[in-house]
Subunit: 405 residues, 2 copies
Amino acid sequence: MPVGLGPLPVLHPVPGFRLGIASAGIKRVGRKDVVVMEAAEGSTIAGVFTQNAFCAAPVTLCRQRMGSTPRYLLVNTGNANAGTGKPGMVAAERTCEALAELVGVKSEQILPFSTGVIGELLPADKIIPVLPAALENLSEDNWAVAAEGIMTTDTQPKGCSRQIQIAGQTVTITGTSKGAGMIRPNMATMLGYVATDAPVAQPVLQALLREAADLSFNRITIDGDTSTNDSCMLVATGQAAIAPIDSTEAAGYAELAAAIKEVLLVLAQAIVRDGEGATKFVTVQVNGGGNRNECLDVAYAVAHSPLIKTALFASDPNWGRILAAVGYAGVPNLDVEKIDVYLDDVCITRQGGRAPEYVEEQGARVMAQEEITIRIELGRGACSETLWTTDLSHEYVRINAEYRT
Amino acid sequence: MPVGLGPLPVLHPVPGFRLGIASAGIKRVGRKDVVVMEAAEGSTIAGVFTQNAFCAAPVTLCRQRMGSTPRYLLVNTGNANAGTGKPGMVAAERTCEALAELVGVKSEQILPFSTGVIGELLPADKIIPVLPAALENLSEDNWAVAAEGIMTTDTQPKGCSRQIQIAGQTVTITGTSKGAGMIRPNMATMLGYVATDAPVAQPVLQALLREAADLSFNRITIDGDTSTNDSCMLVATGQAAIAPIDSTEAAGYAELAAAIKEVLLVLAQAIVRDGEGATKFVTVQVNGGGNRNECLDVAYAVAHSPLIKTALFASDPNWGRILAAVGYAGVPNLDVEKIDVYLDDVCITRQGGRAPEYVEEQGARVMAQEEITIRIELGRGACSETLWTTDLSHEYVRINAEYRT
């Protein structure tokens, strides 16, 4: 059961961005597992991809092709096409060539994305025959169906949509994401697709995506496992009737950037809320660090500790395990007597020891909630970092002992 | 059920080293939870301790006192006396003072050790009254009872004993260890005590312990959580009738060092075999690294991945998850096309992709075993590192959701 993740909200269509879904039966017959996304001519596209050295064939192709003018995104689930060597590259290229021929663009203008089982060759011969059906299905109104089409172990489709006013014109930002396990994105996420009709120059769009991903997809972790296929794409179709945004000083940039960051954050948090076996949505906030890295080191140590994660699952305010994780996070010359730890607003540890006024019932009350903030004050400087994560439950073990990633 | 851990072997007494057990009812009434160890006058003692910044009060005291000539080790379970601030230090000092008075040594000659729940004050008033009983119980033959006395979530007592010949004389090395969770020792382990009757100068003994711990206790991980209380002590009573070992060139040093390393390795591996919820004993061997650090980074990434650990639990030869972990381990400029991965002798991945000759049944056969070696060949250099770890089972979650560390 996802934590605090309601039904899919209204996802406004983005003028100039169409989505089409088809069923290739890659892992299961009848499953909608192929999504084609089309960005109108003149769109700009930005992307960030996994830093995993074993990146999948489609990620390699995407990286090569970001320099061209991509027009189509071809997504499949059920197969990650990772760890598949040369044959995997050939299979990915074949699907792109087939789509390019059908729509009359160059193969380099197709960006492929795969997610699912690692180490099995992409069944191009299943995907190619259903591409005409996906194209026939293309519509600006298909975000909700596409959100379902990209799911793997997700229990719910994920999406977010915002409309803002720039120079009196309505500008739309809509996105979808997927992922529930093998989640510790590094520069990107499992899969995320966001489109806007704002006209944004590609370098501006790319810088904005990198910044937004750093504050959202790159700040979530479920199991600390960085996927081989993480990709997040941001498309600007330019069909809103506003002046081109060609720099971060341009009119409308600030409003657009804020809205895009919000959409990415909601999408990233949705992945955590639907984390494999998650029963808690946990915010880990580290304040008072001397630099961002030490804040992140502490936050990840807490977010990845199996002992803290099982205590969260048990709703046990086991603050000793939090102190232990802070202590082994590797912060140089850490003065433990300056450290305070809070569960929501309850101070459980002051100056490195149990807070004198703390009584266990207060901690137990917070831990019983579905949404919990662990706040750690390091007392070393002015830097802060925030991560979002889940607990570790029996269900996580069951899912991952049974599912072949 | 521990993996491949039989009943406690014969633990030979070490002349000059006596152990006494008592019951203070720290966590449960009737439980043997206090152990006093006495090193005969003239013994040398070496120790290594946790690098966790939130180290426990007894660890702080031990560090301060290693410079003196310690004679007694005072161990309690049921309470870690960590995260307890000044009052924790006072409580630890009080127990030491009480023991010192009873045996007629200085308080600085007592080394305290605690393990159990973090964040609760050590109940000195329960421990002090039972010290006379522990002293009355002192005997060189008490290793097996002491091995039980230091257990927490351990399901079996752990011990190892070797006898070697040096210059025609029998020299004995006997040790015990405890720990099953919060195990990723850094410079030491949860608790380990090893004694020998060889006469070894303290600096030689300390260097030997550090080297041996690095190859044993510092190469095991269960959950990646470095404890606040890790301590490993090596005592040399000097009662064997051989020439003093005052340098690494001295006669007998090589044989003694080899035997001590073996004892530490057996004790460290025993902790993994009895890891919380463990159903597998897993050796992770990384060869062909450019340096030791990158071998360790890859080995720990594999050993800590919840996805690999759940696949091990499920006996699923899910090599894609292994590749993904190698890929995100942070090795700079990793050439994935040089990487081979083996499960025991079965090559599952060659040059970064599925080995052409590999069939799933071979991998499944290895994964069905209780003891498995994951071997990763990086093809970058001549360095190797080996770790030992466990799988991640439902039982791990149950134990840690229920137990208050």
